[in-house]
Point group: C2
Chain length 259, copies 2
């Protein structure tokens, strides 16, 4: 479990969740911390299971052996399971000072992870003879980003629904940026083999839109994300953070957002 979570990847989802909670005034930092940690734990669990031999069979993750490469397939299955469980335990323990917010936080995180609209459903598209590319990306990446912004707001006692669009757009931008890195990036910069999507015959935005089209789409999404930020005390800081993160996730050779 430690190997799956440490050292840190980009931690973009929990950072986003905490940034939204902070922008909303964050009257219960324990609940926001718990939800952010839970979202990252779910993300890490999904990576462990995605890397399994029956899915991507990926031996490398974040520049190190993947969990199953290091500890075997059986412990990788169990570590993923235990990380999912830990995510919900984390909310139950951390959000205890705000019991009235606990149900909403768990529901937001669960809906983005399992069931018909979560990561597991997104990953399940890989088992279908024909893939709905848009649904695949939306469920596999977009929903957890939307959950990150919604949970940050819910932890702070604000209406989570009006915050989903920010996460939606950032999630799609992040996914396309990841596709661009896969096409353009070097393994040393990514911590995992480049060109993996093409090797696996996996549908990507770059295949659909071309590199220029994909870059334009990311720029459009980041602009739209920033415009979607609801009125709140910390809107200016949140806008700055979104731009900073956007700069970090996009391959260096592409000028994505104006400073």
């Amino acid at each position: 479990m430690w190997h799956a979570v440490m050292p840190a990847g980009s931690r973009v989802r929990p950072k986003l969740s905490l940034a939204v909670a902070l922008a909303c005034g964050d009257p219960c930092p324990e609940a926001a911390d718990a939800a952010a940690a839970a979202i990252e734990l779910i993300h890490c669990a999904s990576l462990v299971h995605d890397d399994l031999p029956c899915f991507d069979d990926a031996a490398v993750r974040r520049g190190r052996p993947s969990v199953h490469a290091a500890y075997g397939e059986r412990l990788a299955v169990l570590a993923g399971d235990a990380l999912i469980i830990m995510a919900f335990e984390c909310v139950a323990t951390g959000a205890a000072p705000a019991p009235d917010r606990m149900a909403a936080l768990i529901q937001i995180i669960a809906a983005a992870s399992g069931g018909a609209r979560g990561i597991t459903a997104g990953q399940a598209w890989e088992c279908e003879p024909r893939v709905d590319v848009s649904a695949y990306h939306r469920l596999k990446t977009g929903e957890l980003f939307a959950a990150a912004t919604a949970a940050g707001a819910a932890a702070a006692g604000e209406n989570p629904k009006v915050w989903r669009l920010l996460g939606d757009r950032l999630g799609e931008a992040y996914q396309i940026a990841d596709d661009l890195r896969d096409v353009l990036g070097k393994e040393s910069e990514m911590g995992k083999p480049a060109g993996r999507d093409a090797d696996l015959g996996r549908p990507t935005a770059v295949c659909e839109l071309g590199v220029d089209g994909a870059v334009a789409r990311v720029r459009h999404l980041i602009d739209g994300a920033i415009q979607s930020i609801p009125p709140c005390a910390g809107a200016a800081e949140l806008r700055a953070l979104v731009l900073e993160q956007a700069r970090r996730v996009v391959p260096r050779e592409l000028t994505l957002v104006a400073a």
Copy 2:
């Protein structure tokens, strides 16, 4: 997910959980129902992942193809993940009328499922060169039974800790009865191949104690379980239910408990 949960197995854990809630007066049936359902979902998830090729490679479960045999390994991994997530979502949704009890219910179920003391840790003993048999059974079976009684009490607003011993003893009895069935039973009665533990070189109570010793141990545990029931309004009904369940789980050719 449906294939993993339906048609019903014995449902012994949720029945036990609901029986305890009822014995405690059950002032919040929604919370008790949610916790009982969550415990069964976790149990079903653990069966799906235990049956995977990398663990037991079991093609049959409850008299039908196992999930991976029916739908493939990838969907079996995802179905197990989604069932775990659904378990916690179920508590968050069902226990919403009792937000003050939600954290305790989730913590009880999570501790019995993941982390150092849960099912995943129990299953992980199968990956070690030497197995601590007692810890293996305790974590893989006993903890979820203890969680069932504790969660039933917690859902009803009672102290969960004093109810754990009942679940502990019933869990151990159930495990040994399962070992006995594996040695003595016929595949047609069990819904899965007999002699599987021996084929897998798996440590069982029957190997340690012999059949007579194992039967004596189950009888002792059922007696101890009944004696451990804390004072409560529905103690008599609960005792009767424990005896009835005990009769059902033990192979027919063995006379286990006096009527």
